[in-house]
C-alpha cells in the first residue's frame, strides 16, 4: 500500500520517508561492496523458466513468483521492481531492506560455496535455516529504523511460501526470536547488515531510531 502511495504522481512525495536517489545510491554501494549485479526479474529469461518450473511443481504461481519475490542466484539479484522507483508492495524502505536480505544470501554463497545452493534446493530444513539467517537482516534493519523487532513467529511464517515444513518454520521462529534478543541488546549479527548500517549511519542518519 505504501509503495503504491509513494508511486502516485505529485502527492506521492508526501509518503516518501527515504528519497529515491538515496535508495539507488545504497543499492549501488552494496553492489560495489559485494560485487553483485541487479537484473529486472520480469525481463530475465532464466527467471521466466524458473517461474514456469515452480508453477508446474505446484510450489507457486508464475505471476506471484515474478511480482512478489526478489531472487538471488550467485551474485545476480533479480528484482521485481526498478531500484528507486516505488510501486505496490515495494515501498522505498522495503527496497533498502530487501537489498540487505539478498546480500546476506550472497554472503552465504561466499561462505559455503556450492553446498549452499545445493542444500537450498534439496533440503527444506537447510532452506529454512538460510532464509532465517537472511530474514535476520530484516529484523536488524527494523531495529535500526524503529527500535523494535518484528514478531519472530510472523516473520518465520513466510517460509511456508518457500516450501518449508511446519517443523522447519518452528525452528526458524525460535532462531529469529533468539536473534532478536541479541539485536535488542546491541548485536549486529549478519555481515550484510554490518556493511549496510555503515552506509546508512553515514548517509541517512535521520532515518535511525533515536532513543528517549
Amino acid at each position: 500500500m505504501k509503495g503504491y502511495l509513494q508511486s502516485l504522481p505529485v502527492v506521492g512525495k508526501i509518503f516518501l520517508d527515504v528519497k529515491p536517489e538515496e535508495v539507488w545510491a545504497f543499492w549501488r554501494f552494496m553492489q560495489d561492496h559485494f560485487r553483485t549485479s541487479v537484473i529486472n526479474k520480469s525481463s530475465a529469461l532464466e527467471m521466466q523458466l524458473v517461474a514456469r518450473g515452480l508453477e508446474a511443481l505446484g510450489v507457486q504461481s508464475k505471476e506471484r513468483f515474478l511480482k512478489n519475490f526478489t531472487t538471488t542466484i550467485g551474485r545476480r539479484i533479480y528484482t521485481p521492481f526498478e531500484v528507486g522507483s516505488p510501486k505496490g508492495g515495494w515501498d522505498l524502505w522495503h527496497q533498502v531492506v530487501i537489498c540487505v536480505h539478498e546480500h546476506q544470501h550472497v554472503v552465504q554463497h561466499d561462505r559455503e560455496g556450492l553446498s549452499y545452493e545445493v542444500s537450498y534446493l534439496a533440503d527444506r530444513a537447510a532452506r529454512a535455516r538460510w532464509e532465517a539467517e537472511a530474514y535476520r537482516s530484516n529484523l536488524e534493519l527494523q531495529f535500526w529504523r524503529t527500535g523494535t523487532t518484528p514478531s519472530a513467529q510472523r516473520t518465520a511464517s513466510v517460509l511456508k511460501d518457500y516450501g518449508c515444513r511446519d517443523e522447519d518454520i518452528e525452528v526458524a521462529a525460535k532462531s529469529l526470536a533468539l536473534s532478536a534478543i541479541s539485536v535488542r541488546k546491541g548485536a549486529v549479527i549478519n555481515e550484510a547488515t554490518h556493511v549496510a548500517l555503515g552506509w546508512l549511519d553515514e548517509h541517512v542518519p535521520r532515518l535511525r531510531f533515536k532513543q528517549g
Binding site: 559455503e112 556450492l114 553446498s115 549452499y116 545452493e117 545445493v118 542444500s119 534439496a122 533440503d123 530444513a125 537447510a126 529454512a128 535455516r129 523487532t149 514478531s151 519472530a152 513467529q153 515444513r165 517443523e167 522447519d168 518452528e170 525452528v171 521462529a173 525460535k174 532462531s175 526470536a177 533468539l178 536473534s179 532478536a180 534478543i181 541479541s182 541488546k185 546491541g186 548485536a187 549486529v188 549479527i189 555481515e191 547488515t193 554490518h194
Partner: protein
Amino acid sequence: MMRALIFSALAALCLGAHCRPIDGCIRGATRCTSNTAEICDADGSYHELADCDDVSKRSGAPFVCAYVDEATEDGRITGHTCVPAIDADAAAGGGR
C-alpha cells in the same frame, strides 16, 4: 566416464543436503559450542545460530554465548544466543 559424472553429482548433493551426520538432538534445542550459539534443526542436527566472536567485531563490543530466558512478543523465549559480555558477567555475579 558417465559413472564418474553420476558419482560426482551424488557427492555434490550429499555435500550440501542429507548426507551429513545427524546429532540426534531435540528440535529447537540450543547450546554454546566455544563462543558460538547453535540450534537443533528439524532433522536433528545442530547448526550455527551466531558466532559471538564475529558479532563482537560487527557490534563494536564484546559478546559471549550465554543462556537467556526472556518474555517477548512471541512469548517466553529460552535458549542460547550472543549477549553483551557485561550482561553475562553481571548474571554470573548475581548468582554468587
